[in-house]
Symmetry: D2
Subunit: 344 residues, 4 copies
């Protein structure tokens, strides 16, 4: 797969993995029931049950914004609140989609280093927001991003410590897993360990950033499986029940096949690790956050940033002044090598 | 393209045209700007300008429900009203998506034969619903489906007669064109004649039922082009701004290429015409509506319906008791022949 | 109580009954718990239980639009539908408040003479709107206005015949009782007979048109009492949980005292009856609807309408061309006498 | 006006001023146009223009939650954001009413001592939230509470310093003036100086906590007066367009008469000042926030709090552990004296 070299802007600018295109062609035979009643959709659900070692229900969407918003809409009513990190994608980068889908649910942004919610901050808000007080929107969901928006990964223990704080409330835990595979590979644990065994009720499992054309899954674990019918209703009402759903299912089918999703993520993480090492070795360069997936945030001296851009490297300047480099399944060794050349 | 034979359930159960799968593979090279800033998206917009002989703005969605709801949401505020036929897809089959996207806009269902809005009915409601009266939701949009839900086609003159009734109001005309190509081929006129020249402000142009994997376009004609930025905001907020938008654009690019969209629709219409003639020739069979596209509604004697189903024919029984047969680009001569055999 | 004579525009232009002003003054002592936790609110609820001969829960609002919308919002989700008459106040005159409060619930307007829903029409829609079909908003509520928008009254039998049609669906019956007292007096039955005994789950009981300054009650009968907490949440969220709720409760307290609400309605109905007889006796005048409460719809010869207006009579011309006269608790014998003089 | 003594729970538990009850009785004559078209409503608007020394438009609501939500709904679309203090009433105590009325607008909570937004914090968020970026909800409003939720007052200069930061954005400044009169009296400036001259576009002027039965005004200053029609539509749609609006107008009319609103606020502030001095003189007692209106937040030794409660004093324990005492127009010298006795 050729590319234009040193494109570290985002994993959403990367192409799809060819195996997923092939899967679309294979799925394109014959008349097939529409709206998700096809056999490929069923097969993916079965496969996810094996992978996550539990019963579950799932449906597909074409964007992470859609899957997050749909997921949250069955956890939190319009008059409830969702706790998330102040930098969470659902709060900063989805144009209010969670508010739209929940019917005005309130996102409460919490602080914490490296885009992880600080435990004391979480405790404080849970204390301050009363349950059963008609004037105040009660906490109905906690949303954790894994990877976080700073490219860091929550460990199973960290997830569990946060979700445990919801005990005694009618509140649920959502994981924005746009880069879940990268977090999983980083943690080296099972998918179950990082999700429902750690108290996660709903996982939004993203494939788009990791090889798909456009496919995300909302996965309801047993604790909230009774909300699946409501989720389907909201999927329909939001315009996300694709008539020819088989083409979303086919992407997931090929993506999950033979651990491809993990292999692709592992590749991206390795490239990020190499890239981070390379950058961090430069004088005056510091990592803004630990590199625990496929994103690197570095503080670059201004002249160095200029040098890299002149050499053709593409990356974003983040609001906090750091530079973000993202690798993907499509990042090649010669992208890293080209950057090394530009640095020397 | 094989199929299981005599599947007349819906054009959404049909496969995608192979040329569109090929187009996905061709689009899958290299890193490409995300969220619609790619060159394929731009190329499709340019092509649509040629086809519709006017300036316009467009964006893509993955379902007709999404494109209709997004389109209506920039025409009608939550405190406005949308006139449509009582059997309109937006009113009966989209689980309230227009209400969701408009923020509670009110759909006012009107009556009329063959799923076309009756002119006198339209006049009556426009008279009864006052403008500028704070207590009543004013008319902000008129929605016409072409093809209609009964498989009939509005002519350019019929469209113009209806849209002209909005004169003097701050109201706009929307066309649900999930089967626009079928209507266009039936009418034998230009795309411009059936839309903006007849007073249509926004067209939802559907490709999914006519060969795409899942691709719909919302087209804003010049009268409402200033609402494009708002439309993009709502596309994002609804989760419909696909990160890898090139794969939606690629479908449209191949679909519009060399009049493929019209050829596929013409094929479907011809098969419908043949099928209708075949059915109508049976004793006791009557057509419920004129066949002006790729849908046939017939009243079948009960034993005949049973005979057809036993022979393997698949079709839906409609709420009014008629039987609906839908053809598509993938309906083959031997599907029709098999039905002929079953009838004899 | 003086008035400007022959004002038959609406019962909302009438003053409040002096006893209710007095009640405000009496309630204005001391510090009292806010937001509905006061003893007057509790006393009204107790009194309503006696009047309706059942357990119930109630809360107050300041307008019929608010009480209807709040009531419907706990019966119907955003993705559900509400059946009502095409001329219903909730559909025509509340600027989409039900859609706003339900989060986009769909109002399905039905037809029928004299603003009463026709039974066959109701049957047809209940048949056509499927339950459990993800694409279609299912029926979750039926709303009946009593008095209707044409001033007619549903009898207990008529109410029961309609609500019985919901059997087997998770759907509820709402009564818009902005003029409930007028209907009740007309029917000469018990409050229970016209509501919960006839299958009504929620009554919006209006006092504003019948002597209050501005006070409406949402009454949940036992079948939906478990939704009271949700109703309070929505009351708060809608800005309708008045901090000094005692002043709404005080109005109801005085209004219900010693059957005042029924006496005031009986007075208004008598005046309407006299007025109707007077008008109907004129050559060329026909009643558009039976007069069963405090509203008269008549078709007046044009010159007669002009004569009355010149004499100072105030009344509205209705969209259907008829003239509407409304009486109230404050309509006096000399208003009728003045009209008689103007006619002669 | 008797009371039960030492009730410092809230100014919403206080009675209404008798002059406002009298005003209701005086307004209760004759037939009067409904829904705000009455002469009293017009007179109040005229009086407010004099008081605020500017053209303006106003309408009434029955709760601060309603007036705030209505006001914000014409400043911020559903896909926009509102900056406010983390402890703001609109964020913490209105059950998501602003989100409901704006259609999902996002409240961004900012920090700062004594419930005043910190200037650097405000700068940081304004820098981080981009304008014209489709993925992020842009800032459309800044909301300041005056008095704040900690009982402190923004000065005209402080207000102007904050609103000036919005320059260059299509964003507006809202003031939650539930206790505006108290802030105004504290600052000793003109109403104009504390509002539109300091960059405020919309003021929610609260009378309920300061002598009314239930009356709040939304005041649009010239910069946003063109949104008044939209505001009325939303007032209707929210169920807040009271049919007999004269009774809301009458309250304001009496409240503004002869500076009554300022006299009542001055009384409450004086009582607060005395109470604060009394409490602060006790060993171990510290004021949590400056007392700049009618609210006192103190940190009480536990035994002292118990002693006061045993003596009959009523006050709330705040989430941060402090004790809140609120005075009002109805707080009498013997309430303070009784507390002094309890302390000694």
């Amino acid at each position: 797969m050729p590319n234009d070299g040193m494109n570290f802007l985002s994993d959403t600018t990367a192409p799809a993995h060819p195996a997923l295109i092939d899967a679309l062609a294979r799925a394109n035979t014959d008349f097939v029931p529409s709206y998700g009643a096809d056999t490929l959709s069923a097969r993916v659900e079965t496969r996810l049950k094996e992978i996550f070692e539990t019963d579950l229900k799932c449906l597909f969407a074409i964007s992470g914004t859609a899957s997050n918003a749909l997921a949250l809409s069955v956890l939190c009513p319009g008059h409830g609140a969702i706790l998330c990190h102040d930098e969470a994608h659902i709060h900063r980068d989805e144009r209010g989609a969670p508010e739209f889908y929940t019917g005005g649910g309130k996102l409460i942004p919490l602080r914490g280093d490296h885009a992880k919610i600080d435990g004391e901050e979480l405790d404080r808000y849970l204390t301050e927001i009363p349950e059963g007080f008609v004037h105040t929107a009660p906490v109905r969901a906690l949303s954790l991003s894994n990877l976080t928006e700073s490219g860091t990964a929550y460990s199973p223990d960290e997830v569990r410590a946060h979700t445990a704080r919801l005990a005694g409330r009618p509140a649920f835990a959502h994981m924005d897993g746009a880069r879940f595979a990268n977090a999983l590979v980083n943690q080296g644990c099972t998918p179950a360990a990082l999700t429902w065994k750690a108290g996660i009720d709903v996982l939004c499992l993203g494939a788009t950033k990791n090889g798909a054309l456009g496919a995300e899954a909302v996965i309801l674990f047993p604790s909230v499986m009774d909300r699946f019918e409501e989720l389907q209703v909201r999927q329909k009402r939001g315009g996300h029940m694709a008539p020819k759903m088989r083409f979303l299912a086919a992407q997931f089918d090929a993506w999950l096949e033979d651990d491809r999703w993990l292999d692709l993520a592992a590749h991206a993480n390795r490239q990020a690790s190499d890239l981070a090492a390379l950058l961090a070795a430069q004088p005056g360069v510091t990592l803004a956050h630990p590199v625990e997936g496929n994103e690197i945030f570095v503080r670059l001296p201004e002249n160095l940033a200029g040098t890299l851009r002149e050499a053709g490297a593409q990356f974003y300047t983040w609001p906090d002044g750091s530079s973000r480099f993202v690798t993907s399944w499509a990042t090649q060794d010669n992208d890293i090598a080209a950057l090394r050349d530009a640095l020397s």
